[in-house]
């Protein structure tokens, strides 16, 4: 559970950090809504050469170490340039960009019958930047680093939760990673991750059925690291590349330069087009100035992209004015996040009470407070259309609760539901991290509940302490601000996490055994389409139980210089497909 919470923290922290801008890390649109139409089209054959410049407000990368990297846009960036994984997502706009393809492996993996064991075979010619061939042992070593939780912090911990390695009494793995010396059960790890004799095939033995483990290995946490070059914590500053580029300079607070990796063999990699000669990241840029440079589009800035989203005040300029200058230079589509308010079932056990809260919610006010049309669309569940196989309209706003609920809320229905509950509605408290946008949302929630006669007290919490408090059952109140994005493109990283009993982000404190059993069944379905149908049903059931107030399917906006080619919203990570970008010559 602890690990899972940390995982939740990472993604959710991104949500909170992005509160001022519309969302921190970009997003994906699977876009039957036509939002991808606004982008520069799909992946096309580009021109080689030139330098792509990326501007960022950050002082440095959160992490460059693949096992510690977790943010979607970071993965999108490094997976395109320096970090190869067994599988990855195709470079394409729209739904095609969610397709799983083989990267370092020859195919997208082979599972045994109940998906408790997965094998991947490495291609010929894959190598590190120093020319040494990448073998199964390197991938295995990379995976082992995740277990060193005291050194390799902040990364995803799926290796720990999925691999078939015994747990110690405190719930941690008996294997403590490659740096631990005494009392470390390395044999258990060797049994869980096995290499074939020729060093080409890696087999992962899992402690449960994981039907989508081949999606899990898209995370850089499953990428190879040469044991001889591993410097533990400081590997973060000196990673060894396996992709078409290598880091030639990384000065925090100033710049990072990626240059071509001479030892990368194009024949071993039909995924990365590797168009530009060089990629330069300029750190510590003023966000407003970043936007202005791209708007002005001076010759030296024409091959420039931005990390993260635009400043809200520039959105109208770039998007609504129909300015031909920005044609084909923008995207406006789904980010990875669904924003919702968790309803604490341990304090509100009466389902009619919870339904009344959902019915009373004025999401029109919510969306306005988040920034209007650019913020996104009203959500109807916790699964969003950027998971095309797992999303289906839940029908919550139709007549699931007995009447239609418009975006402005239906206070009359809420009052009726409270009456039907047979108990008076208790006074509620809404907890939220104290930042300018969440504050306005809190006011929106308070005023929508007041319209239905529900009394809400607002409890702002210092952002750094927020998750510590709301995850403490003693301190958690009835309503809590939340947001979530999937870890890979499957609702298996959404529904079980948010509403499952072992989920790491179960703010609603759902303890429903029947529902849990259905989750476990769904996790075992190998047929991805069938599994998607199961998630659709579970999403609907969650809405019937009113465990959350769904607010918003978030959107993200970005734009780039006029000489950048292949700019589009990559649904896989909700950002640009950095590895596919080229400079028009």
């Amino acid at each position: 559970m602890g690990k899972a919470i940390n995982r939740g923290l990472r993604l959710a922290a991104v949500v909170s950090a992005g509160a001022l801008a519309l969302a921190a890390c970009g997003g994906g649109s699977s876009s039957s809504e036509g939002s991808a139409a606004a982008s520069g089209g799909g992946s096309a054959e580009g021109a080689s050469g030139g330098t792509i410049t990326m501007l960022t407000n950050a002082e440095q990368w959160q992490h460059v170490d693949p096992q510690r990297m977790y943010t979607g846009a970071d993965i999108a960036f490094f997976s395109g340039y320096t970090t190869r994984t067994l599988t990855q997502y195709a470079y394409a706009a729209g739904e095609a960009g969610t397709e799983l393809i083989a990267d370092m492996a020859t195919d997208t993996g082979t599972a045994n019958e109940d998906a408790t064991s997965w094998s991947f075979t490495l291609r010929d010619g894959v190598s590190f930047e120093d020319g040494t061939a990448i073998t199964c042992a390197d991938v295995k070593y990379g995976v082992s680093r995740t277990f060193a939780q005291d050194v390799i912090t902040d990364g995803p911990t799926y290796a720990i939760s999925y691999l078939d390695i015994a747990k110690a009494e405190d719930g941690s793995s008996v294997y403590k990673g490659p740096y631990a010396t005494d009392g470390n059960d390395a044999a258990a790890f060797d049994a869980a991750v096995q290499c074939s004799e020729d060093g080409k095939t890696i087999t992962f033995n899992l402690n449960r059925s994981v039907a989508d483990f081949n999606y899990t290995v898209t995370l850089p946490a499953f990428s190879p690291v040469p044991a001889a070059k591993d410097t533990g914590e400081s590997y973060d500053d000196a990673v060894v590349s396996s992709g078409p580029y290598k880091i030639s300079e990384y000065t925090k607070g100033q710049k990072m330069t990626l240059v071509r990796n001479e030892n990368w063999d194009k024949a071993s990699d039909d995924y990365r087009p590797a168009y530009p000669d060089q990629i330069v990241v300029e750190f510590a840029q003023d966000p407003a100035a970043m936007d202005q440079r791209i708007i002005a589009d001076a010759p030296e800035d024409q091959a420039t992209v931005e990390y993260g989203n635009m400043q809200p005040e520039n959105l109208a300029t770039v998007f609504t004015a129909n300015d031909p200058r920005f044609e084909g230079r923008t995207y406006n589509g789904y980010d990875p996040y669904v924003r919702y308010t968790a309803i604490n079932t341990s304090l509100l056990p009466n389902v009619k009470h919870r339904q009344a809260i959902v019915a009373a919610m004025n999401n029109a006010q919510y969306i306005a407070a988040r920034g209007g049309d650019f913020a996104g669309e009203r959500a109807d569940g916790i699964v969003k259309p950027n998971l095309p196989l797992d999303y289906a309209p839940s029908g919550i706003w139709d007549d699931m609760y007995g009447d239609v609920i418009p975006a402005e809320g239906n206070p009359e229905l809420a009052k009726k539901l409270i009456e039907e509950s047979g108990e008076p509605m208790p006074d509620l408290t809404y907890q939220f991290p104290n930042n300018p946008v969440d504050e306005k949302i809190a006011a929106a929630i308070q005023s929508s509940m007041a319209a239905a006669g529900i009394n809400v007290t607002l409890e702002p919490i210092e952002p750094g302490q927020y998750y510590g408090i709301v995850f403490d059952p003693e301190q958690a109140k009835e309503l809590m601000r939340s947001g979530w994005g999937p870890d890979w493109l499957n609702a298996s990283t959404v529904i079980p996490e948010l509403l499952g009993q072992t989920g790491g982000f179960n703010l609603s404190q759902v303890q429903d055994d029947a529902y849990e059993a259905k989750i476990q069944d769904a996790l075992k379905i190998l047929d991805r389409t069938e599994q998607g149908k199961a998630w659709q049903e579970l999403n609907k059931e969650a809405m019937q139980n009113a465990w959350v107030i769904p607010h918003l399917f978030g959107k993200a906006q970005a734009f780039w210089g006029s000489k950048i080619g292949n700019g589009f919203l990559w649904d896989a990570y909700g950002s640009l497909a950095f590895g596919d970008l080229y400079v028009e010559q």
Binding site: G371, A442, L458
Partner: protein, 332 residues
């Protein structure tokens, strides 16, 4: 106060019986001087008006048919990122000063209600500062000795403290504590701000008062009272304190606007009043983010704050001149 006209009230001449020359108390003399200062009188009436408006805010907003809490989405433009629709920050007959971005709440009513909160915090804190600072200053100055040393070092410590940083760091902990004691999140913030302002504000006044008391205690009327066997309490409160009103009033009038501005600064740093309650500080903090797109928003709380700070400064200055004419600009 070392003017020759300074006479302790206890020894003031008896009220005039009749005749040509009327004796005036120090206070009456000061009031006369103050009344002659046109700028001061203007500032005073301005302050009275501001306080009245703040006090009667619910009545005024009711009459105007506005409300600081109601969202008005019709006044926003969703295609522009929920910015106010129309020029001048969405100013219209319904919303004379425009509306708040993202929510459409009426700015006039938020300004009036915000005045209540901001003035309440500043006034309460300044009263506490006056009481604590004066008491400690008198004790330190009159008693002297080790007590003076201890108080002196304590004030040094507090004066040297980076208090904005301390306020930011203590905020989450202390507001949680206050809530655990049963206060609502909202009142806990107000109480917290008042307490920290008082805690970090008194040393300045205590310093000032101590210095005054040091010279006062050597004066003849104090020595006379001691010789007559008056108890210490009587000496402090009847003989010494009345001579301290001038520095206290001046300090209060000057620090009050500073506190309002500090509240604004803290709101900007995220240690402010809880939604949906408005305060000037919060409005300022919020409006700064929209300065490029809705410049009028910043000018509303900014102008209000400017007027109050200006009025207090002019008034405080004039009060000082009136109480201590030798230093005043009117002398020359």
């Amino acid at each position: 106060m070392s003017t020759d006209t300074t006479v302790p009230p206890a020894a003031a001449p008896p009220p005039s019986v009749s005749g040509a020359v009327t004796g005036l108390s120090l206070r009456q003399l000061a009031w006369r001087r103050l009344k002659r200062d046109k700028a001061a009188m203007f500032a005073m009436w301005l302050l009275v008006a501001i306080f009245l408006t703040a006090l009667l805010a619910p009545l005024i907003t009711n009459l105007l048919g506005v409300n600081p809490y109601d969202f008005d989405l019709t006044s926003l433009d969703p295609a522009q990122g929920s910015l106010p629709a129309g020029p001048w920050g969405g100013a219209s007959l319904d919303h004379p000063l425009g509306v708040e971005p993202l929510t459409g709440r009426d700015l006039l009513s938020r300004l009036l209600f915000g005045a209540r909160v901001s003035l309440f915090i500043a006034c309460t804190a300044v009263i506490m500062i006056a009481i604590i600072g004066t008491t400690i200053g008198i004790i330190a100055g009159y008693k002297g000795g080790w007590l003076d040393t201890v108080i002196g070092r304590t004030t040094d410590l507090l004066l040297a403290f980076p208090f904005i940083l301390a306020i930011l760091a203590l905020s989450p902990v202390l507001t949680q504590r206050l809530q655990a004691m049963g206060l609502s999140p909202e009142s806990s913030r107000v109480v917290y701000l008042v307490l920290v302002f008082a805690f970090f504000g008194w040393p300045y006044l205590a310093r000032l008062i101590r210095g005054q008391v040091l010279s006062l205690r050597e004066r003849e009327f104090v020595e006379a009272a001691v010789a007559n066997g008056a108890p210490t309490r009587r000496i402090l409160f009847r003989e010494v304190l009345p001579n301290l009103w001038a520095p206290i009033i001046v300090y209060v009038t000057i620090s009050l606007p500073t506190l309002i501005a500090t509240e604004a600064a803290l709101a900007y740093l995220g240690v402010g009043i809880v939604e949906p309650t408005p305060s000037w500080g919060k409005m300022l903090a919020d409006s700064v983010r929209y300065f490029a797109v809705v410049p009028t928003y910043l000018f509303i709380p900014g102008t209000a704050l400017f007027i109050v700070v200006y009025a207090f400064n002019v008034f405080g200055d004039a009060v000082r001149d009136a109480l201590d004419p030798r230093t005043g600009r009117n002398v020359r």
